[in-house]
Symmetry: D2
Subunit: 340 residues, 4 copies
């Protein structure tokens, strides 16, 4: 089984290389990167010294025929095109961009700046949030791998949404993200001296992940719900915490029972007994969830933690691959977090 | 003018020492500390080497007569008693504990674990949030210096609350705090290796600052409002960000105009043009505020940043002292943040 | 094969749990901890939720008979005794303390505060630095697992020392360590707010790892060499960098050739082309080394990086176990670092 | 007195703005920046909101006539030229670049890549290390403000060098620097996710500060001494620690007495009783020094800490200005560090 990682020099591409290293059944035969084109993996990233792929050379362009599985870690618009080509070549496609995540194509011009030219493929693509759409994934040809904020938030809301227990028409989501969420892009705000000791909200009234969350919650709950989403940057490299404040008439006990019923058997969902901590999921495929209820105000408060690059991106992509290839879903993904 | 700092070896005590060093009009003649009793300031904290107070010796107990002004950086219950004694001695008292912050004495047993034995002094004490209660402070004998979360949150809400423009009966407040907010206490959670890369909510359904916020907002707005407050710890030493999500029918422009009217002349309130950042207020007495409106959901989103140990504690205490002593309010407090 | 981890709630114990989780051939049947005695692993450390050992209960004391292999993550003196007992019980012992590391028993009273009561076992114990003493390890009954600073430093010096190419009688070693190196002990210096932004040397004229380094270098080089060792704490959780300044008459090319000859085939030694970085070895068993020569002064400068808890402690312990049990030496230890 | 800050949008320029804000005797009438040309200070850096200079506009080019004092925070080569012009205009010049630091002009082509075209001004320029060259500074027209590594290192060596008590011909200097030392330049290595948890040596065999240190030590000691200098990057924003290992026949007591004699009266040198910590000098003009002696090897180990942007750059520049203008040397520079 031959694998291509397109855009392999970004953070999610490197995370894929790290995890796919463990597979004996798979050979990575292509990695691409504009920035490092012509260089060996080890040369660009010395921490791949002694990796079995250390001498693999970054290509500039993707060869759409020579691999069987394509992980796309590209910007949204190049991904839009490439998926089309690969689909026509009958490849297995796991797209980490947003190009095929949202069923409502009207969202794309406003939030992504381009027309979605292949709406027919939007119907083909399966939203790769395994714990919600597992059955559809088994036979998927195109996986639209979820965004990081949507992964944490939707998993935190899923039982409530599915059971129709969200009362208000607006859900308040405040989320914290590590800086790696911005990708491997040079920007003064993300330099160490400026990020250090800092924290702030951003994109308060317009963030691309808001329509993605609303789109999926609607599909789950069959109800139009708005998400009041305020993302924040905090000074960590990786990690994401979604704090969801949502009206419900379930009591604390009912809430916890509901989440237990939905998630007890999900290997990658860990219901915790105290508010979840991002450190405890770093480098893993776990989504930790804690549910609480404030009886004075009638709000449930749900905190949900993932590693934005692992469960929020590359590990989830591999979880999807495992399902498609018929491996055990947790194959090579059961590692615990490094502590401390 | 002689000053005592009781509990001078905690973070707020040290912050007071640092800022009071600048005053020629004042002499610190007492510092107390259980932990360092008998030691010189410089010996306990070598960074006070070359300070004019370097040789001052920590006493074990407060002498309630030999100073004119008392800053109390003590736990809540010892503060409760000491304020009483100092008040009888006719001293100027600036209490950084919560012992006299909340007018409704019923709150104390539930949230602080003790009966408030001096309710008559609750009436005497002035809540030292200068931008709101400045007039009362001028002649105050007891200043109840505000908590850090309430400082950031109430300043972020004040114009809306005062003008009666809060629509819902619940305000959603999600706040981020640096670890110094927990004080100088040994706890595994706050060790570097465990705090590093971490972030989490805590005390979700019961935090002591919730009734403080509700009490003050009620006094400002004359309306019962509940605060759905979710505090979080993030890996910074200092700094606090309050993200307030509140229903209002004011438009974005009306909101900004309102805040401009209230705050343009306040030296220590800086209205910013983009979401505020904690790094930009560290070590200063500034409260930075950014107001935004999400027209789709009808919520205003206000972000408000302070340094929890400066404006959120010791600098605000000194701002109060400046007013009481008739100094210019910003005297010795105009420093800009260190960058980067 | 049954395994006991004594002192399993410290950082090295937890690191062992994390890595031994991967072994199907092994069952951990005992974990001990004073602090968490009677608690389940998952209860004490929620990040072990979903681990196969999540329900294992911490015992207070070690049962010296019911396991086959004992990893000791205890203070030095309790380890001294327990090794003796386990040796008499004919167990495989991997001791992460310093109790059996130094052949010269005179060192113990001065540096560790106790007499070494079992000098005969000092002869039995094998210093578990695999790349140097691999042959002795195969049949070892007691492994004295090396200290973190000695691991990084001796691996950085080994080819030079072995070939007799160290000219001066003093080697200058400046090393940087993450805070986890101090163990999971409460100390104000190691609280986040105080560690943050900090860096400093410590134990400048007397550090326990100095005689350990001198003892091993003497065994390698058959020459008395002194180490002028200055350790520093830097604000990272894990990671260790040893910067070795040593007089040699080898040229830069000769140096690099020598290290290539010694280390090219060592899986866990990665010779890098630029100064090594601690981030690139975190959570791995790699020791990255870069050698350079300053022709103006005649000094070679060698930088050597490890993760103090992995190659510097628990992973190296498992590497030793792999050899003793006849597994492939790198079995379960080939993971790459998490990036970024 | 009118002041120009050329290159005011870099870290040292901003540090100057922050400190010069405190001077009533001075008016900053020019700030320049390529990147922010045409923008107001507050617009480029919102943390200058409420500063008295908030509305000052960044100019693209320096006006060499309209100010009295010029602080140059420019790259080395533009500084070389501008100093010449300003000198001819009879201005007071404080140059934070290296263009006039080294008396031996032969160093420039090799280390800085340009010929020093104004060797006559090299004679005029005074090396602005106040504690060593104070007398020359009083009447200086051109101050060559010292580099950060040389400031920490030379102050750590000065008494030994001056007294001729350095035995060997090579001094071993290992230093740690915060990332701000690299300036406000976009580089992947300095992004938060890549800097975080990292530490490494760099420029091991050739760093520009080596000849600067050797040049000044020679002037102090009248002896040719080589410096074996290994700088390291650690994950802090600011702060610098120089660990100096140097052969001397002075005993520990003699060493400490010598340093006491030299430095007791220096306000900005603090001799500490334990190894110095960078956190304790951040944002201040202090240089903390601790001297120790390892009798076994005959080496003294001196640790010296500064803030690279304060004493290592902008505060030292202001200390020079204070002297030239006849102010008290410590005027506006006596602030203590922020803690924690």
């Amino acid at each position: 089984m031959k694998v291509c990682i397109a855009g392999a020099s970004g953070y999610t591409g490197i995370e894929l290389l790290r995890i796919l290293e463990l597979y004996k059944e798979i050979e990575i035969n292509q990695i691409t990167s504009r920035q490092y084109s012509g260089k060996a993996l080890k040369e660009a990233f010395p921490f791949f010294n002694k990796s079995k792929y250390q001498d693999l050379i970054f290509a500039e362009e993707v060869d759409a025929t020579s691999s069987d599985i394509y992980f796309l870690c590209l910007p949204h618009e190049p991904s839009l095109e490439l998926v089309k080509t690969l689909f026509e070549n009958n490849k297995i496609i796991i797209d980490l961009s947003a190009a095929y995540r949202i069923k409502n194509k009207e969202v794309y011009p406003e939030y992504y700046g381009f027309e979605h030219r292949f709406p027919e493929l939007l119907e083909v693509a399966v939203y790769g949030l395994v714990e919600v759409f597992r059955n559809d994934i088994k036979s998927a040809k195109i996986i639209a791998n979820p965004g990081c904020y949507p992964t944490a938030t939707i998993l935190g809301l899923y039982p409530l949404a599915k059971e129709g227990k969200i009362q208000d028409d607006t859900i308040i989501v405040n989320a914290l993200s590590g800086i790696s969420g911005a990708g491997r892009h040079l920007k003064e705000d993300f330099m160490y001296p400026e990020s250090f000791s800092n924290a702030y909200a951003y994109n308060i009234t317009k963030h691309r992940h808001t329509p993605e969350m609303e789109d999926v919650i609607k599909r789950i709950s069959d109800k139009d719900v708005k998400v009041r989403f305020t993302p924040h940057i905090i000074p960590v490299s990786r990690g994401m915490l979604s704090t969801i404040t949502v009206k419900t008439d379930l009591s604390k006990k009912q809430l916890r029972d509901l989440y237990f019923d939905y998630y007890e058997k999900e290997y990658f969902i860990r219901l915790q007994d105290r508010p979840v901590r991002i450190k405890e999921v770093l480098g893993t495929n776990f989504c930790d969830i804690f549910v609480d209820k404030d009886e004075k105000t009638g709000y449930a408060v749900i905190t949900s933690a993932i590693d934005n690059l692992s469960k929020g991106a590359s590990f989830q992509a591999v979880q999807n691959m495992n399902i498609i290839l018929g491996f055990e879903e947790s194959y090579n993904l059961k590692n615990l977090p490094i502590y401390p």
